[in-house]
Structure formats: structure tokens, C-alpha cells
């Protein structure tokens, strides 16, 4: 089971969360809320939740610290396999090229590219599936439901 594996680098993850939540709390503190003595202010809930979340991160970090130290490279190895890195890069590139190439072409390239990189066999079958998926989505969304595609 995944839960039984050693979760390498959780402390770094919690560190990143702490930085993110501190930034959120700083932003919340600028609003009128509990900190300013206005319990019904726009920032009240954000301030309460921000403090609560930071305390939880600190508590979890202490708990994790007892589980032993882990290296940064260990964390990278634990989180990212070759396939995951490839898919993440493909998704980011897909999101970026969509604005220039349009939905249909960028989706076809993304589908065919990722399907082939994940399993390098039967390119023709993958091309047909990719094309079929794009055509189905375009027909379903654009013509049937009149939904604008990216």
C-alpha cells in the first residue's frame, strides 16, 4: 500500500505550505477583521483560518521531524517519476500552445504526443483515437451544447 511507503520530503512540502500560508495571512491581515477588532469584517474568516492553518502546518512539521530527516533529492525521487514529469510538462505546454494553435490542433497534438510517449506502440491506433476524441468533443460541445471551446 502507498500509505505504508516512506513519504520522503514531507517536511519540505510543509515548509512550502508554511510560506504560502504566511503570504495569505499577510494579505488577510490587511483587511478589516478580527485583528482590527471588527469581528464581522471582510477579513475575519480569512484571518482565523490563516492562523489555524499555520498552526496545523507547524504541528504537522513537528510530527514529521520525529519521523527522521530526508534529503531534497530523496523528495524529488519520491515525487517525480519519468512518466509524471513527462505528463506534467505536456500539460503545461498544452495549456500554453492552446491560445496560439486553437483547441482542436493543440488537443490532437497533446493527445497523440502523450499517448505515444506513455506507450510507444501502435501509433496509428493512437492517432485514430486522438482524432476521434477531438472530433467528438468539438461536435458535442460546439454544435450540440453550443459551448465555446478554448
Amino acid at each position: 500500500m502507498e500509505e505504508e511507503r516512506v513519504r520522503s520530503g514531507e517536511i519540505y512540502f510543509l515548509g512550502a505550505m508554511l510560506l504560502l500560508l504566511a503570504a495569505v495571512l499577510r494579505e488577510a491581515a490587511e483587511l478589516r477583521g478580527v485583528f482590527q477588532g471588527v469581528p464581522a469584517g471582510a477579513g475575519s474568516l480569512a484571518q482565523i483560518m490563516g492562523v489555524g492553518a499555520i498552526l496545523l502546518v507547524i504541528g504537522l512539521a513537528f510530527q514529521t521531524r520525529h519521523e527522521g530527516r530526508s534529503s531534497f533529492t530523496g523528495m524529488i525521487r519520491y515525487l517525480f517519476s519519468g512518466d509524471v514529469v513527462m505528463l506534467l510538462l505536456a500539460v503545461i505546454v498544452y495549456g500554453l500552445i492552446m491560445a496560439n494553435l486553437g483547441f482542436a490542433i493543440s488537443t490532437f497534438i497533446f493527445l497523440l504526443g502523450t499517448m505515444f510517449l506513455l506507450d510507444r506502440s501502435n501509433l496509428r491506433q493512437k492517432a485514430i483515437i486522438s482524432l476521434g476524441t477531438v472530433v467528438t468533443i468539438v461536435i458535442l460541445f460546439t454544435f450540440l451544447f453550443e459551448v465555446v471551446l478554448p
Binding site: R7, F13, G41, A46, V91, L118, P150
Partner: protein
């Protein structure tokens, strides 16, 4: 009963039967596709049905509503990607069932329980509308706050392992839900000076990223193989249905009541019902979260029962119970009808026509719900190299269609990556969705309740015990809180300590 003959109207017209059936069929598939919401479908229908007669237009919309709420369960069970927010809870046990090769049976059970839930909601709508509407209208902001806090107590139910991790994720969810323009003062909140964030972050986008993309990354990382499905039986075993019938009825009651409260809907109803099942079912078929049938029964009965509930304030008071009934009120007004107490008095046959259309839709829900399951089940058997890219494309389209905004695609990717990290470190994802969903309800009602007491914290706290309805809700909330503690173990440990 006055106007009861209106009940038979949908059953006597071939045209209305056709439109209800068409609506249910289309609704199931719209509900199953993430990003295509029932509200959006009903809103789109408004544009080309406003020239129609009122009955066919409403028959089609009611059909889509009933089918759409159920349809979300299909993608939740098969891909762990809920087609609609009301199916989030279904995926918690539905997806593990698909991983065990029981997707077909899970979808069959979900269909049956959805039909039971819808029927229960309709019965309450028909028999107890004025009573439930009267109760719902008495809810003050502090009561809604308690209801939202009750919802937050579900965090314990939605997680396995560390409660602190679940609470952290829920708190982050609440903070995400607060991003955007403050609805009371219109000032930017947690936007970091970025104008694009003024519109807030859609919880549907967060949900699609957290459950869709992160699942794809997780499955690739662990190279989870496709599972061969056992689809010899789709109609669930009568024994299984009868065993779970009391739970389905209890959850339907929860769903109807939650649905009747304005501003809450099938999503909260399903989560509350799941929590109820987890607390009350002593010997589930499997542990919750690992493919318990009860984990599919409870949310599916509740989210469909919420439909009948949502119609109660709409028909009796003219107040929408959820976003779909808000659009339906608009549709009625386009046709010159104004739902509310006067309509109930002057045109009761119209109320009964709606009840009849709902009953008809429920019949078609069961018929169409049982079709296509074998074909759908095969989705789980598709190789990961093919299905994961397709799921990502659907997630992308689904995120974009919410606001026609490319920035939502980037948010979906960000939530997907965050969800993947959270999963890898054993943080549950469902509490984050719960936080995002409940955040506006908690914020608005906390501030309204506080403002009603002029910011006086003492008066705010005492208002919880001086109002009978609030006091009952408070007791109920405390009961829910205390029931999360394992008293048996605690008392046993204390006894041991004292005996030493």
C-alpha cells in the same frame, strides 16, 4: 385536493412524456461530463424554449435536472472525477469499487438509490411542502452558520488517518473559497492585487483539478494497471437493496431537508449523508473509503432527494432551493408565472403538474440509468496511456467552460499538481472541496449573524442558546462533534489508568 388533476397531465400527453424522457437521457450524459453542469444546461435551454408552451419547456428542464444530478455519479465511480459537485461523496467509495472490478454493480446500485431518493423527495414535496417551507424560512443566519459548521465536521468522515492533515486541507479549501470580491463590501479579498482573481476561484475548477489531473498523475506514478470489470450483473441484488433501504430512506430525508434550505443543495446533502452513513453503519460491507456499498447508497439517495427538497421553497415561497431552481424560476417568469404562495393558491394544478413531471422523470431515470452501464464500465479497462490524456483534455475543457476563461485551465493544472502532492503525502482531498463549497456559506452567515448582534461577541454567542430552533441545531452540532470521539477506547483507557 385542489388541482390534483394536474398530476396526470404529464402522463396523458405523448409530447410531455417525450420531453421528460429526452431531458433525463441528455441530463445523465451532461451530468457525467465534468464541466457541463445541470445549471448551465437548463440555462442554455431557456434561450430556445422561451417561445415554447410552458409545459413542454418545463418537462424538458425537469428531466435534465433529475438526470443530471444522477449522471455525475458515473464519472465519479469510473474515473474518480465527479461529473458534478453532488457526486464528490459518491467517488469516495464508488471509485474503489471500480478498482475492485465492481463498477457495473456500483452504477446499478447508484441508479437504484438515486431513484429511491428522488421518489422520497417528491413524496415530501407533495405531502409536506408547506410544513418544510415554513421550517426552512425560519432559518436565521446563525442557523445557517451552524449548518455549515455541521458540514465542516464531515472532515473527520472524509478522511482516513491523520485528522490534523484533513483539517489543514479543509482550512486551505476555506481560504481558496474566500478569494475574490467580498460579496458584502465589494473589496478585493486575498487577491494579492491581481485583478483576474476578483471573480474568485470556481470550486468546480478546483474539484476537476484535484480529482481529475491529480488522479492521472498518481496512477502514472504508481503504474496502476487497468482493472477487468465484472459486469455479469447490473441490476443490484434485491438483498443488497433491501439491506440498505433504511439507510437510503434516512439519507433521503437528510437530502430533502438540506435541499429545501435555500443556498444549499445536493453537494452538501450528499456529503452530510455520507457522514451519516459512516457514523451509523456499524458493520459496512467493506471499510468506508475502500469500496463500501453503503458509501454509494448514502450520497446517491441524498443528492437526488435534494431535488424534491429544492422544489419546496421554489413552489411554495418563490425562493430557489439551489442554482437550478433559480433558473427554473426564471423560466417560469418568462412564461408569465410567478411561483410562490399565490400560485399555490390560484393555480394548484400547476404545482401538481410539476410533481407529475418529477415522478415521470424518476421512472425514466431508472430506465435510462440502467442502460449503457456495460459500455461505461469498459472505460476502467482502457489502458492508462490512452485514458489519462483523454481525462486531462476533458478536465481542461470542463475548467474552461465554467467562465470561458483560459486562466481557469491554469488553476485546474495548479490544483491538479497540489492534489498530487497532497495525495503523495497522505492528505485527503475531499475536505478541500468541502472547504471551498462551504466557505461562502460560513463567511456570509457568520458575518450576518455577527452584524445582527452589532459585532457584540457576547450577544452573538448567547443568541445560539436563546433561540429554540438554533438551540436544537446547536445541540445537534455538539452531538455530532462528541460522536466523533471514540468514547469506548477513552473510557477503557481511563479505567485502566485508575485501576493501576
Amino acid at each position: 385536493m385542489l388541482g390534483l388533476e394536474g398530476f396526470l397531465v404529464p402522463f396523458m400527453s405523448i409530447e410531455l412524456i417525450f420531453f421528460v424522457a429526452l431531458g433525463v437521457f441528455v441530463g445523465i450524459y451532461i451530468g457525467a461530463i465534468p464541466g457541463l453542469s445541470v445549471t448551465m444546461a437548463v440555462s442554455l435551454l431557456l434561450s430556445f424554449t422561451f417561445t415554447w408552451d410552458v409545459f413542454p419547456a418545463l418537462a424538458l428542464m425537469v428531466g435534465i435536472y433529475v438526470g443530471g444530478v444522477y449522471g455525475g455519479s458515473r464519472s465519479a465511480i469510473l474515473l474518480n472525477m465527479p461529473g458534478s459537485p453532488s457526486a464528490v461523496a459518491t467517488g469516495l467509495d464508488g471509485y474503489p469499487l471500480a478498482r475492485l472490478g465492481e463498477a457495473g454493480k456500483a452504477m446499478g446500485l447508484a441508479t437504484t438509490m438515486s431513484a429511491i431518493g428522488t421518489f422520497f423527495g417528491i413524496v415530501i414535496l407533495a405531502l409536506a411542502s408547506p410544513l418544510v417551507a415554513d421550517l426552512a424560512i425560519r432559518f436565521a443566519p446563525r442557523d445557517y452558520l451552524l449548518l455549515a459548521l455541521m458540514g465542516m465536521l464531515l472532515v473527520g468522515s472524509l478522511s482516513r488517518g491523520s485528522l490534523a492533515k484533513a483539517l489543514l486541507v479543509a482550512a486551505i479549501g476555506i481560504l481558496v473559497g474566500l478569494v475574490g470580491m467580498d460579496p458584502f463590501t465589494a473589496e478585493p479579498r486575498l487577491t494579492f492585487g491581481v485583478p483576474r482573481l476578483l471573480g474568485g476561484i470556481s470550486f468546480v475548477v478546483a474539484m476537476i483539478g484535484l480529482f481529475g489531473l491529480s488522479e492521472g498523475l498518481y496512477q502514472l506514478h504508481y503504474k496502476i494497471a487497468p482493472v477487468k470489470q465484472k459486469i455479469d450483473r447490473i441490476v443490484p441484488d434485491m438483498k443488497l437493496v433491501l439491506k440498505n433501504l433504511p439507510l437510503a430512506l434516512r439519507c433521503s430525508a437528510i437530502g430533502t431537508l438540506i435541499g429545501a434550505l435555500p443556498g444549499t443543495g445536493g453537494d452538501i446533502a450528499a456529503l452530510m449523508a455520507y457522514d451519516h452513513a459512516k457514523r451509523t453503519v456499524k458493520n459496512p460491507s467493506r471499510p468506508f473509503g475502500e469500496g463500501a456499498w453503503e458509501g454509494v447508497v448514502a450520497p446517491e439517495a441524498a443528492n437526488n432527494a435534494a431535488i424534491g427538497g429544492a422544489f419546496i421553497p421554489m413552489m411554495t415561497l418563490g425562493i430557489p432551493g439551489d442554482s437550478v431552481t433559480a433558473v427554473l424560476i426564471g423560466a417560469l417568469m418568462i412564461h408569465g408565472l410567478r411561483p410562490g404562495p399565490m400560485m399555490m393558491k390560484e393555480q394548484p394544478e400547476f404545482f401538481w403538474m410539476m410533481v407529475g413531471a418529477l415522478v415521470l422523470a424518476n421512472i425514466f431515470l431508472y430506465i435510462f440509468g440502467m442502460t449503457g452501464i456495460r459500455m461505461f464500465s469498459r472505460i476502467v479497462e482502457i489502458p492508462k496511456a490512452v485514458i489519462i490524456p483523454i481525462v486531462i483534455v476533458l478536465s481542461t475543457v470542463g475548467s474552461y467552460t465554467i467562465n470561458n476563461n483560459v486562466a481557469d485551465i491554469y488553476w485546474m493544472i495548479a490544483f491538479g499538481v497540489l492534489g498530487y502532492f497532497l495525495k503523495m503525502y497522505g492528505y485527503p482531498l475531499a475536505p478541500m472541496v468541502l472547504g471551498v463549497i462551504l466557505s461562502p456559506l460560513i463567511d456570509a452567515n457568520y458575518r450576518r449573524a455577527m452584524a445582527l448582534e452589532h459585532g457584540d461577541i457576547g450577544a452573538f454567542l448567547s443568541s445560539f442558546v436563546t433561540n429554540p430552533l438554533t438551540a436544537v441545531l446547536l445541540l445537534f452540532t455538539l452531538f455530532m462533534l462528541l460522536s466523533q470521539v471514540d468514547w469506548k477506547t477513552k473510557i477503557g483507557a481511563l479505567r485502566q489508568r485508575f485501576s493501576k
